[in-house]
Symmetry: C2
Subunit: 476 residues, 2 copies
């Protein structure tokens, strides 16, 4: 029998405990979202690229495992769910390798990618136990529009219809939605439903949503699945609309209307949508996420004017409901999520001059202010950053009327011409009406600035801070 | 207290029991399948059209409820599953209403439609109890290719690979598959897998399958989901191939190969495909079907020659495995289906002259002979019919070298020209080699012959017998 004294035994137990804690902390599920065209594909491509090519020309000073030289290597390995699309990393990176480089094709729906990161742990015990440890990172990419649907779960069909009508009756939507509202108002909601008419009305409503999103640049698109139907194309579950004439029915008739009536069918499909589409996403995916990145492009809505910007603010509030799961929130009454860190990133930071970045962050903070407040309270760690996943400009100094001013240089997206300019200031706070009246914004869209070689790192702004916030504590 | 004697009471009990049996017998799930381009869309459109327009110009003499004047009316009502695509009946019928009429667009994947049929029951008791009864018919349309996958459930990855290789090494596939096989043979199956290479090999294999189906007219396409991926597009579950070089690995290395190796990854994905794709379809859909229609176009494979025809025969045998659920069958070991009637219909009967129809049925019976035998044994009622869902020709008599011969008249599909001809005989039995050497087939494809008015019935051949077989006993 070996000798061991009590104090040694306790030490050993503690170390064994540490080791155990360390060994189970080997996996993290990262979710990346953002409204369409917010730069999800570029973000994920750069995130993966920085890790995979680390040791080449990568600039990751603020990512501790690299700074402390404990980072060994990262590689893509087989993803967790074989029935989910593969994030097409190689195709995206190929776009940046072209000459001239282009932005990668955007993703639709949901896709996955798994990384294995080998590193040397700080912890001396583990260091002796093994030369390296591995952290597996599962990245899930999904449309931000899906999060816009969460609030539906707390609404009846009547409430949702009325709220949607209120939105449709305001500028800039009203002008385009007017005809649709008039058409719906002519329907007797208590007669037997005509499914073909409903299908064509739903088609019309979907086209309105597409127009709002892609032509007007609006952000609040409900139901979110209508514009990205995937396998549900042509299914009745996506063939409903908000009823715009609730004033014409009394509560009793509404309650008693059968599923075969126009209004009853709309209600039944709305309920089914909540169950089969909204809840399903939260149960099958969202509840398994550990950390979430929400990307927001604030510059385009600023370009588009006050109404679009307000709409972005509303959309962000709706999206943030998925993360504000205090005890009394809608969310925690329905689900028990486990997200402990939320990164809220303003993309395209390279599209303005560097001294504007603090304004971008401050604006983003304001946009998410209420939620951030709640999140702090609930002890979810939230961070806001102004980033550029893949830098499209160079910054420098120029002369304007004898004065030195900050400028950026890049190739304009629409004609590929190299231009140098000061693209304008970013407001530090949510712009007021007076501000909008006096100022306009005209940020330019740029192409990626120069192609990279194979296995080279993509130029970026603050991706190292992103990595540190999301992975730093898991790589200690 | 009322007087009632024992005999009256017994009579009453019996009648109440009959009534009960009748009232619960108010619903039937019909499934319609067939390999792509076998005429599923036209079939379902006509099936629904005959019922909905009954009482107009419809010809349904062999459908008892109509013949006995007990059929009241039928209409489309809301389908059962809101998340499944709606069968686009109206769009299909619109194609037949155009001038000149066209064939409707084919469906992809799965779609649904529900009919409510009102009728007067034969049973006197129910006749007194109520003026009419309603039978709900749920029709599910799904690709026949999905049934080709059932046999996979009984195979290991190695068995499936070897069997597929045997198929690929025969004419007419070999010539096109040669390069693919050579490429796969150069891979060391035990090295670590490259997922991108696998994705591109799977893409190549899928293109081969597409070519086999659409250019060569072959029927045995495995895995069936590869050519109709739906929501699984880009998912690793569809990124595997048959490994063509099993001779190069010994059994031990194969068994011990990890999931990260080339061969291990193929095997893992094959297993996941069986679970997540094949079994899922059977569980979620197939097990709920009461009656099945399998459509087969025998004329096109006859046109295409011996190899295509043999391939059709093999495909039909594979498809029929889903219905031959005797105690020892693969199927009944995995599932407990409840299909009690199977209609096996040769489509395009109007593309040959009427006196050839008995040969068509006889040929079809031979194609499915083994299965039919088994089915009878298992007491599933099976029927074979030569039908035309929507008639494209008129039949009559013509003169040829002084003799009266049967002819058909129709508009050729490729140039819309009206032609009159005797399209040739249909072999009564599976053609032998000698037969193929001596004879060729050249059946013509026709457009629908003339457009119908709205609410008019589509011209057909034997759709009334189809209705009688599938619904007659439910409408007594």
């Amino acid at each position: 029998m070996a000798f061991i004294n009590k104090s040694d035994l306790n030490k050993f137990k503690k170390k064994a405990g540490d080791l155990f804690n360390k060994t189970i902390d080997q996996h993290v599920n990262l979710a990346v979202t953002g409204l369409s065209r917010s730069g999800k594909t570029a973000f994920i491509s750069s995130f993966v690229n920085q890790l995979i090519t680390e040791g080449g020309n990568s600039q990751l000073d603020f990512f501790n495992p690299v700074h402390q030289r404990r980072f060994i290597a990262a590689k893509r390995v087989s993803q967790k769910h074989l029935h989910i699309g593969r994030f097409e990393y190689e195709k995206s990176v190929a776009a940046f390798e072209k000459s001239p480089p282009t932005w990668p094709e955007p993703t639709h729906g949901i896709s996955e990618l798994r990384l294995a990161i080998r590193y040397q742990p700080q912890d001396s015990l583990l260091k002796y136990a093994t030369d390296s440890a591995t952290l597996f990172v599962d990245i899930t990419d999904y449309p931000g529009e899906w999060l816009l649907d969460l609030p539906l779960l707390n609404q009846t069909y009547e409430q949702w219809s009325k709220q949607t009508l209120a939105l449709l009756e305001q500028a800039p939507r009203f002008e385009h939605a007017k005809q649709f509202i008039e058409k719906v108002n002519q329907i007797d909601p208590l007669v037997s439903a005509d499914e073909n008419m409903l299908a064509s009305l739903a088609q019309e409503y979907t086209e309105l949503l597409m127009y709002f999103r892609h032509q007007l640049g609006l952000s609040v698109i409900q139901p979110g699945r209508f514009i990205l139907p995937g396998e549900l194309v042509d299914a009745p579950i996506l063939q409903f609309i908000p009823f715009t004439n609730f004033n014409c029915i009394d509560g009793n008739s509404y309650q008693n209307a059968g599923d075969g009536t126009f209004i009853g069918m709309l209600r039944a499909r709305f309920i089914e949508y909540k169950e089969r589409v909204v809840k399903k996403f939260y149960k099958e995916h969202f509840l398994h996420f550990d950390r979430q990145i929400v990307l927001a492009d604030c510059l385009t809505p600023l370009n588009n004017g006050a109404e679009c910007f307000d709409d972005l603010q509303l959309a962000i509030n709706l999206i943030m409901e998925s993360f504000s799961y205090g005890q009394s929130s809608l969310f925690s009454r329905i689900f028990s999520p486990k997200i402990d860190k939320l990164l809220f990133a303003a993309t395209k930071a390279d599209h303005v001059t560097p001294e504007q970045h603090s304004n971008m962050v401050s604006l983003l903070n304001q946009l998410a202010y209420q939620t951030k407040h709640k999140l702090n309270y609930d002890q979810i760690e939230m961070k806001t950053l102004a980033i550029s996943s893949v830098k499209a400009t160079l910054s420098g100094k120029g002369k304007h009327q004898g004065q030195e001013i900050p400028v950026i240089q890049g190739r304009q997206l629409h004609d590929n011409k190299l231009i140098t300019l000061f693209p304008g200031a970013v407001p530090k706070r949510l712009p007021t009406k007076e501000y909008w009246d006096k100022n306009g914004f005209n940020y330019i869209n740029f192409s990626p600035i120069e192609s990279i070689e194979a296995h080279q790192s993509l130029p970026h702004l603050r991706m190292d801070q992103v990595l540190q916030f999301l992975l730093g504590d898991k790589l200690k």
